[in-house]
């Protein structure tokens, strides 16, 4: 390598080293096997869309959704929110835990491994058959987190309407406006347990080890 090459290399390395690298997401920095995160990527967008649809359907309204969008800061992937969904809110059905566990579309995994003081706020069901979605909403120390369950082998996304939010993002959030809609960043921990696909939306309500504890408690082969 001659002086010219060395100069190019030094300049490029300097530019690469100059980036301040953000900390990796929790799922990378904790002990993990290569198999456990399979099938995660696209599920995250689906689960996030389902949660938004649910928030819209239980008439929490724009304000609450805006707060939710603001609260969920760590991001896995973008997904699009369609403004037209506002016109068609999705109906939902409130359930007891016993009723939820009897859902026939898949073998529901009862929420487990929760922090001792977490309380159930609501259990909702969206859709039927392979599009059935159960949403367990919890309150923990004044903050909310949700567990969303869908059939693991479902190839179709439940028919969920989306709600346009007007969040006030934190500086680190990525909220992009375009002619095609609004993009948000959401983070979910998603895993497969038996015949259920489970997504945990914790935002900053739970510590990473609490999320990990729930995931372990609700995982079965």
């Amino acid at each position: 390598m001659n002086a010219f090459d060395l100069r190019i290399r030094e300049a490029l390395r300097h530019s690469l080293a100059a980036y301040e690298v953000p900390p990796p997401p929790n799922f990378l920095s904790r002990p993990i096997s290569s198999r456990r995160v399979q099938k995660k990527r696209w599920l995250i967008a689906v689960a996030a869309a389902i949660l938004l649809g649910w928030v819209a359907s239980v008439s929490v309204g724009r304000t609450a959704l805006a707060q939710l969008a603001n609260a969920i800061t760590q991001v896995v992937k973008f997904f699009q929110i369609d403004a037209r969904g506002l016109l068609h809110p999705v109906a939902s059905q409130s359930l007891s835990l016993a009723e939820a566990l009897q859902t026939e579309a898949f073998h529901v995994v009862a929420p487990a491994g929760l922090p001792p003081n977490a309380t159930v706020e609501s259990i909702q069901r969206l859709g039927t058959g392979t599009a059935t979605t159960l949403i367990f909403a919890f309150d923990y120390r004044g903050r909310q987190f949700s567990i969303v369950e869908t059939p693991a082998n479902s190839q179709s996304t439940p028919n969920v309407g989306y709600l346009v939010a007007q969040p006030v993002p934190r500086p680190s959030d990525r909220v992009l406006q375009s002619n095609h809609g609004t993009y948000f960043r959401f983070q979910a921990t998603v895993w497969i347990s038996g015949s259920a696909r489970i997504a945990l939306f914790a935002a900053d309500a739970l510590a990473p080890d609490e999320v990990w504890h729930i995931e372990r408690a609700m995982t079965r082969s």
Binding site: F4, D5, I8, R9, L12, H14, K40, V75, V76, K77
Partner: protein, 164 residues
């Protein structure tokens, strides 16, 4: 590469660093680079068992990062409302700025070869695998890139300071 979970986790943390830096250099956007790093690490985790040699990991992983970064770049460019910044967001000493600006003026197919060769320390054969190109094509592009860089830098700062 099918070692214990902590070893994989350690590897992923290192990979995150590699992916973010390359993603940021290609896209010039921290937020987009974070997405690229996330997607690349997930992809690498899923496909890790397919990797036969640990020595090939860096080239293999950079290939994943670059593919995702280029797709992300194309997706961003499709949204007219989004501004795709051509310049990376870093602050360099004077000479480094000049050189990096010259690199950014290269055509993308030349630029990525230069970044992978000089910035990521990959061999031309690895870059060929990375970009799914014949080895000869990579060497030609590198040669062309060098020539263009030399011309650009000569016109910018004068022949004396270019080097041998």
């Amino acid at each position: 590469m099918r070692g214990e979970a902590p070893a994989i986790s350690k590897l992923m943390v290192r990979s995150w660093d590699m992916a973010f830096r390359l993603g940021a250099r290609v896209l010039g956007d921290r937020s987009a680079a974070q997405d690229v790093a996330q997607a690349a690490c997930e992809r690498a985790l899923r496909s890790l068992k397919l990797l036969r040699s640990a020595k090939a990991y860096d080239a293999w992983f950079y290939a994943i990062v670059l593919r995702i970064a280029l797709r992300e770049r194309a997706a961003l460019a499709r949204h007219a409302a989004l501004e795709v910044r051509e310049r990376p967001v870093f602050v360099d000493p004077t000479d480094s700025i000049v050189v990096n600006e010259a690199i950014d003026r290269l055509q993308p197919e030349l630029k990525y070869v230069v970044i992978l060769f000089y910035g990521c320390d990959l061999r031309t054969s690895d870059i060929a695998r990375c970009l799914n190109l014949p080895h000869g094509t990579v060497r030609y592009r590198l040669h062309e890139a060098r020539k263009l860089l030399r011309e650009m830098l000569e016109s910018t700062v004068g022949k004396e300071s270019i080097g041998a």
